[in-house]
């Protein structure tokens, strides 16, 4: 029952973010209950433990046209690289803007990283090519850094549709065949239909567990009240 309520928490979060730019849906992955070997060896009570992990589905979300010059979406694998000065974050949310100094930043204020560090944009018409080349009034000023990550298991989610490496040693490599689209943002990849089906399954599993618990309760009740009674 506890496992089902965790699943429900995750489904509720997916549904809440059905319209969040660059959001990637989560799902709960569970194994069966495993015997705790050590417990048996010590002659103690058989312990049970369940393995749970949250898997983030990194599949492509739909591209939503916005016509804003600083909105970019990735088509294909990879992430934009952004930094708050200390930590490096990876995101598929390409809704960028300018800071007071003309630096390209995210909505949270993290600096967007180019091939040569932070990107400074002078005033003018910004065009971003399919390979991430940024030009202002036809003059190249930088290139967006787009990387793919080898060890996606190491990533944890943080607010703002961003991912950060848990161990701090993300294995970056160049993204293959990724196209950068200017004037688009990547929509959330949450599929409402799938989440609703998931919610029905959660509900039924929860009910079944509750029934099992009640049956167990009745058996115990019988044991306590009926055994030992002289007919």
């Amino acid at each position: 029952m506890i496992a089902q309520s965790t699943r429900q928490d995750i489904t509720a979060n997916n549904l809440a973010n059905v319209q969040t730019t660059g959001f990637k849906r989560d799902r709960l992955f569970q194994t069966d209950l495993i015997d705790a070997q050590s417990g048996v060896e010590n002659g103690g009570v058989l312990g049970l433990r369940q393995l749970q992990k949250v898997i983030t589905d990194l599949s492509q979300g739909g591209l939503h046209p916005t016509s804003a010059p600083l909105d970019v979406a990735l088509q294909g694998e990879g992430f934009f690289v952004v930094s708050d000065g200390q930590k490096t974050y990876y995101t598929r949310n390409g809704h960028f803007q300018l800071s007071a100094e003309g630096k390209l930043i995210t909505a949270q204020g993290h600096a967007v990283q180019g091939e040569g560090g932070e990107i400074l944009l002078p005033a003018g018409q910004v065009t971003i090519g399919s390979q991430g080349d940024i030009a202002v009034d036809g003059r190249t000023v930088g290139k967006l850094k787009v990387v793919a990550l080898e060890n996606t298991d190491d990533l944890v989610k943080v607010s703002g549709a961003m991912l950060v490496s848990r161990s701090g040693s993300a294995q970056e490599r160049e993204a293959q065949g990724t196209i950068v689209q200017q004037g688009f943002v990547e929509a959330s990849n949450v599929d409402a239909m799938r989440e609703m089906v998931e919610m029905i399954a959660i509900m039924r599993n929860y009910q079944v567990s509750a029934k099992a618990l009640q049956a167990e309760d009745e058996t115990l009740l019988k044991t306590v009240t009926d055994i030992g009674r002289v007919p």
Partner: protein, 261 residues
């Protein structure tokens, strides 16, 4: 369990805002120079329910158990697509074809920016907008002017009763921004510069990436009704989906409460 309730509630609140925004777009479907906006969402902080830990079999759980806390609206973003031209024939109705904004002087000395080119003449012969705010740089039309001609580059010529030859009396300037989506809406079709929009580039129309001016036309709102209706359906359904998550959570709590007879 209770987390799922607040998560779904945050989703419902966010969709409410999205619907408010769509209502405002639809209300301004005929507002001259209006630019539609959309709401941008962000996921909330994630809670580590279960840290990455070694299992009894000597392996490590690959990722901890991280559960998100819902969503919130972080920004409303303007889309500065060109609106449809509307022919009026009025000599002070101007439309910018392409990028750029007209500038108006606010009473506090600040400059505001607008795409609404329905200019009027004040009692002193100044060119002002519908709210009486003067155009920047100021443009004065002589009292005896019989015709006003404004070309694509913003050059203003007038013909008077005494001088039948057109004479130049001023030049209209436009401003553009690197990131117009970052401008702040002041209402009354006016925008103010912000940190996100960047500094304005002021020049004559047709230069430095600025659009040209069409006299006798107004720029209609760029709200597309069909698109807004689709967004409305999506927002309403998302609201409904989140309400189902609330309902499921409530039903689960009900079952848990009924375990004890």
């Amino acid at each position: 369990m209770l987390k799922s309730l607040s998560t779904a509630a945050s989703g419902m609140t966010a969709q409410e805002l999205a619907i408010d925004n769509i209502a405002n777009n639809l209300a301004n479907v005929n507002t001259t120079g209006f630019k539609r906006s959309r709401v941008e969402f962000q996921d909330l902080i994630y809670q580590m329910v279960q840290q990455v830990s070694p299992t009894t079999q000597g392996t490590e759980t690959p990722t901890g158990l991280q559960i998100g806390g819902g969503t919130r609206a972080i920004a409303s973003v303007k889309d500065f697509d060109q609106g449809d031209p509307l022919h009026t024939g009025n000599s002070l109705d101007l439309m910018i074809r392409g990028d750029g904004f007209f500038e108006v002087l606010l009473p506090d000395g600040q400059i505001a920016y607008t795409r609404d080119g329905s200019w009027k003449l004040s009692s002193e012969g100044k060119v002002v907008n519908a709210d009486g705010l003067p155009m920047e740089p100021p443009l004065d039309i002589p009292e005896d002017a019989t015709a006003i001609m404004i070309d694509g580059q913003g050059l203003v010529l007038v013909r008077t009763a005494s001088t039948p030859e057109p004479t130049e009396i001023g030049q209209i300037e436009l401003a553009r921004f690197v990131n117009p989506a970052g401008l702040e809406s002041l209402g009354k079709n006016l925008y103010a510069q912000t940190v996100a929009s960047g500094e304005p580039v002021v020049s004559t129309p047709g230069k430095d990436g600025l659009g040209t001016i069409d006299q006798g036309y107004l720029e209609n709102s760029n709200v597309r009704v069909v698109e807004e209706m689709i967004n409305l359906i999506a927002a309403q359904r998302a609201y409904e989906l989140n309400s189902k998550a609330v309902q499921t959570a409530q039903d689960m709590l009900g079952i848990a409460a009924n375990l004890k007879r």
